[in-house]
């Protein structure tokens, strides 16, 4: 069991959780992920590390409630059954900041994608980089951790689909207007956003890194559920990723593969809501 300090709602559909997980953070590099399980019989949920305190052994995660398992996770109070990490590879820039000195870097985040973006921007800020951030969501309510990201970003531009905060419109519009200022773009968010970002940067020949979050089971390379097509070849997000060259990923395939369990998920989510209601009654 892993001690949970808090598990609080931070937007209409997102939660932030603080867990004691010293091993998972001790050697963590921004970009790596963990897998959590609420109970012994729960699903394994892969989540990118949002923040950590290596000395105190603390791990922060942010997750969106999108189905049965995240619904169950959102009801956790004092402890969870399992946390394993860090898994996968750290972000390319954060793994070797020296060789990126002088590069002009822009992070583009969509929705809860700000959670994995934050530790990278923070790490680079701490290492003397001035990093810009473009952060978009559907509306103001869904923009998360604004204080934290503003403290570490050089310039930050917000966009909302409905114009309720920042620039009305999409992150890609803002990115394209400023594309000549950047040598590298890191985009993390919904697949469709990462795809659109990659299309913009391809036109302008700007290196682009994206973080894939496909279906996953063990997270150790054993099952292949998380395979993505990179440059026409299957790669496992769990051990070859989760970050890949955004110009080489087949996003359309990734979108389709996300829907494999859509029907089962719907049924399980309803079952879970009923189960949780019963447990709490």
């Amino acid at each position: 069991m892993y001690k949970v300090h808090y598990n609080k709602q931070i937007s209409p559909d997102s939660y932030e959780m603080l867990i004691e997980a010293p091993l998972a953070v001790k050697r963590a590099i921004p970009g790596q992920f963990v897998i959590v399980m609420t109970k012994e019989d729960s699903e394994r949920i892969p989540l990118t590390i949002y923040d950590y305190d290596k000395e105190k052994g603390l791990l922060w995660i942010i997750y969106q409630v999108i189905g049965a398992s995240t619904e169950e996770l959102s009801h956790v109070k004092d402890e969870i059954f399992s946390v394993v990490g860090p898994l996968g590879n750290g972000n390319e820039i954060c793994s070797d900041p020296e060789s990126f000195k002088g590069k002009r870097i822009c992070y583009v985040a969509g929705g809860v994608g700000i959670a994995p973006v934050y530790p990278q921007v923070k790490f680079l800020h701490d290492n003397g980089f001035d990093v810009d951030v473009i952060y978009g969501s559907r509306n103001k309510e869904l923009l998360l951790i604004r204080d934290k990201i503003e403290a570490v970003a050089h310039n930050i531009t917000y966009t909302t689909d409905d114009g309720s905060f920042g620039t009305k419109g999409f992150v890609t519009t803002v990115l394209e207007e400023n594309i000549n200022n950047y040598d590298i773009v890191v985009a993390i968010g919904p697949i469709i956003m990462m795809k659109n970002v990659a299309e913009v940067t391809r036109k302008h020949n700007v290196k682009t890194i994206v973080s894939m979050n496909p279906l996953m089971v063990d997270g150790s390379g054993m099952c292949g559920a998380c395979r993505c097509e990179v440059d026409g070849k299957p790669k496992f997000a769990c051990i070859h990723g989760p970050e890949f060259d955004g110009h080489k990923i087949d996003f359309d395939l990734a979108l389709k593969r996300m829907k494999i369990y859509q029907e089962e998920e719907k049924i399980k989510w309803d079952q879970m809501k009923a189960l949780l209601a019963k447990e709490e009654a």
Partner: protein, 452 residues
Amino acid sequence: MEDKKVKGRLQSPEERITNFNEVEYGFNDEEALAEASRCLHCKVPRCVEGCPVNIMIPEFIAHIKDGDIKAAYEVISRSSSLPAICGRVCPQEKQCEAMCVKGIKGDAISIGSLERYVADQALINNFNATKKIEQNGKRIAIVGSGPAGLTCAGDLAKAGYDVTIFEILHKAGGVLTYGIPEFRLPKDIVAKEVKSLKKLGVRINTNVPIGNAITLNDLQKEYDAVFVGSGAGLPKFMGIPGEDANEVFSANEILTRINLMGAYKDTSKTPIKNLKKAYVIGGGNVAMDAVRSLKRLGVDAHLMYRRSEEELPARKMEVEHAKDEGIVFDVLTNPVRILTDENNSVIGMEVVNMVLGEAGEDGRRSVTEDEKSLHKVDCDMVVMALGTSPNHEALKGSDINLSDRGLIVVEGTKTSLDNVYAGGDAVTGAATVILAMEAGKKAAKEIIDNLK
């Protein structure tokens, strides 16, 4: 003396395809006694030579005859740390039983079934085969809690070493837990065997990704010796068009969902696709496990293998059980393309018939495609059971020597790193549970010899 073996009782095929309970019931006392009585107690027991861990087979069988099951268990325990598992999943017909002189004219002694009987009795009656252990204060780290790691841990703990196993998953057992299905190896048996290792003082730290959270070099510094039994690795795919379709899975994924995550239960929180007709591609034990699991989920389950039935690498018994269960075997056939609809869902396959040629250097017959035979089959699921390629996650950050094939290079069981040993699939490529156990055993012996 009768030359026919005592036949073990099985769940009937009609019944067992509706559940995941164990297929074989195992011997009762009378059956075990009758089978044990067939043993000739050869002066030079060839069966012992056939056993990778050299269990003193005639000796334990003699104790069964005398009705002293505890003594029989003690004999087995001297050589094997996991008898309830070996008794079930070892290919005895190729090992001990293949060497049995009774087998020349009639049936070999059912050594595996007798081993299982003794081990199960030990678990039921809580036999404790271990005498008090003198701790020697030396610390050993083991990477992976599969059959190699567990065996190595058991032998070292019995010899007085302080053993810690690191496991990346949330449950111990490796392939015994995530891979081999309940109907061949019940998970409570694995849990009990793991528990008896813990009783010997072995610590099992789950949720530790060696390579990422702790490196091999860290372990090397902190422990007197390290054993790496990290297992086989990444599932292989064929590289044919359409393989990225939504309902193309590795056998490992299907088995992990079912065994580790319990997806066969209605109450499971981890889903599994429940489709109509599946083809499992491959012919080994993993293919058999996957196709028989799918059958139990109500799927019209087919096995497709490119060579003929004679060449199937799976255990004969598993093939027979699969056939009894109504699995359709499409042999001498191979897929060349997976057909999909606009949603990337599987709707069928294009397959070709295969023609067998001469045996190659490895003794396996070559196969060539008969291109004229190209035809379509309908299905909505394809499962690849084609073996694995090495996974180096656990070795991240170390400069351990690897072969051209990416496997860990060993001399005996010693790797290129000081005080680091390795065995099992990480060294041999995908093989069997018993070979992994044998490697774990050899490593334990080498570690003991070298740390003296």
